[in-house]
């Protein structure tokens, strides 16, 4: 008999369910309770950088919009710096920049949108820079565990990005790239299943 390993196991995930808004965005559930809801402003008013808006829909395997989905975004500032102690340049992060936000859909259409600034390039593993991207985490009724993905920008140079290049099926790389629709406007649809299924990440 070997010595026992004493690691604990990560708690199992359970679906966020249809009423996730009560806990994470009670205003969207229909009532005011907190002095301030968290995750309403990703960049803050003073962060330098290009102000952008991203809009999209999450679709299920039948092509129907997922109307009760909730997304969280996590991104670096315009200089590619995260407001977090693990980022060696944290002290130089833009003032008031939070980098994190919560994104709620319109319950009738499933369309969501968020305002932020375009992130800068972040250094990836082994000294390989990553193209500008926003990390997304998706929860909803029917999702047993939150889905991670990334959103890149079609007007940036993504060809050397070390994560996009890990995707063996070259046609699927486009599922991570938002399309510019107007100045400062991007469209990013997410497909949970079927044709054009988004690449999800085990991070």
């Amino acid at each position: 008999m070997a010595q026992p390993l004493t690691y604990s196991k990560e708690s199992a995930s359970q679906t966020a369910g249809p009423y996730v808004h009560i806990g994470l965005a009670p205003g969207a559930a229909g009532f005011d309770i907190y002095r301030q809801e968290l995750g309403r402003d990703i960049a803050g008013p003073d962060a330098p950088g290009e102000r952008i808006q991203v809009e999209g829909v999450v679709f299920d395997g039948t092509g129907a919009p997922v109307k009760d989905v909730l997304l969280e975004a996590w991104q670096a500032d315009a200089a590619g710096i995260y407001p977090h102690p693990e980022d060696p340049r944290q002290a130089h992060c833009a003032p008031g920049f939070r980098g994190w936000g919560r994104i709620i859909t319109d319950f009738e259409t499933g369309i969501w949108a968020f305002d932020t600034i375009k992130p800068g390039s972040v250094m990836g593993r082994n000294g390989r820079p990553m193209a500008p991207h926003i990390s997304l985490w998706i929860v909803a009724r029917g999702l047993n565990i939150g889905l991670h993905t990334r959103m890149y920008f079609d007007d940036e140079d993504n060809h050397a990005d070390p994560v996009i290049n890990l995707i063996e099926h070259v046609d699927r790389r486009a599922t991570l790239i938002a399309r510019k629709t107007a100045a400062g406007q991007y469209r990013f649809d997410i497909r949970l299943q079927g044709d054009g299924e988004t690449v999800f990440l085990d991070v």
Partner: protein
């Protein structure tokens, strides 16, 4: 030098995406393989929160929405620690909860269940763990409620819990169940979890030592987030 990554998520312990007995998962489950990433700065960082973000009353669901009196139902304390897989407390992390009231009714414009709304109960709370990872809420024990899956499915009493940890890759939403509830074993959402020990880990025991005599009962619930590798042997670049 590469940052130390987190232990990989055990996908045989976590529920799979496709669980046909939970019908909504059928059309919402990705069918292609996930792309496995070694943690980069984008995954090992994450949002941080402080005491300017929330108020002290936010963790008291008996008082944080009440206007004309206390909410109806069994008064309870839910307390425990947020730990990582190495057994270390996760300090100063945001814990958010939401739940139905004692009738099994949610305060949500999409919930139309017959159970009565309670004018003094909102059903959500939030708090930061202390330096050792401890958290506590005061609330009302939620009721069971029916849901559309099979014709006669009922959710066991549960509290939804959202936790951040220190990194975006630790982000977790789960549900806490109550010791002794016969509906747990019959619930298709509980049973999305393949390993019975992983289900046991989501069931909070009654904790009489933490109860307040003549006031409220208590349940203890620890939450475990992914652990992180040590940095000791991390600075060897891989072959590329």
């Amino acid at each position: 030098m590469n940052p130390a990554g987190y232990y990989q998520r055990d996908r045989l312990w976590q529920p799979p995406a496709l669980t046909p007995d939970y019908k909504t998962s059928v059309a919402r489950s990705p069918r292609l393989a996930l792309l496995s990433l070694e943690g980069s700065l984008s995954e090992i960082t994450g949002p941080t929160f402080g005491h300017t973000d929330i108020d002290a009353i936010d963790n008291d669901l008996i008082r944080n929405y009440a206007t004309t009196g206390d909410p109806v139902g069994e008064r309870i304390i839910v307390h425990g620690r947020v730990l990582d897989e190495n057994g270390r407390g996760v300090a100063h992390t945001l814990v958010e909860i939401w739940q139905a009231n004692a009738s099994g009714r949610y305060r949500h414009k999409k919930d139309t269940y017959l159970g009565a709304l309670d004018p003094n109960f909102g059903g959500c709370g939030r708090t930061l763990t202390d330096e050792n990872g401890h958290y506590a809420f005061r609330t009302i024990k939620p009721g069971a409620y029916p849901w559309r899956n099979w014709v006669n499915n009922w959710r066991p009493a549960h509290i939804h819990i959202s936790v951040f940890g220190a990194a975006f890759c630790q982000r977790l939403i789960t549900q806490m169940y109550f010791e002794g509830d016969p509906l747990i074993a019959k619930c298709p959402i509980v049973n999305t979890i393949p390993d019975p020990s992983a289900i046991d880990q989501l069931i909070a025991p009654l904790d009489l030592n933490a109860a307040v005599p003549l006031d409220c009962l208590a349940y203890k619930f620890d939450i475990v987030l992914r652990g992180r590798r040590s940095t000791m042997f991390e600075n060897r670049p891989e072959g590329n």
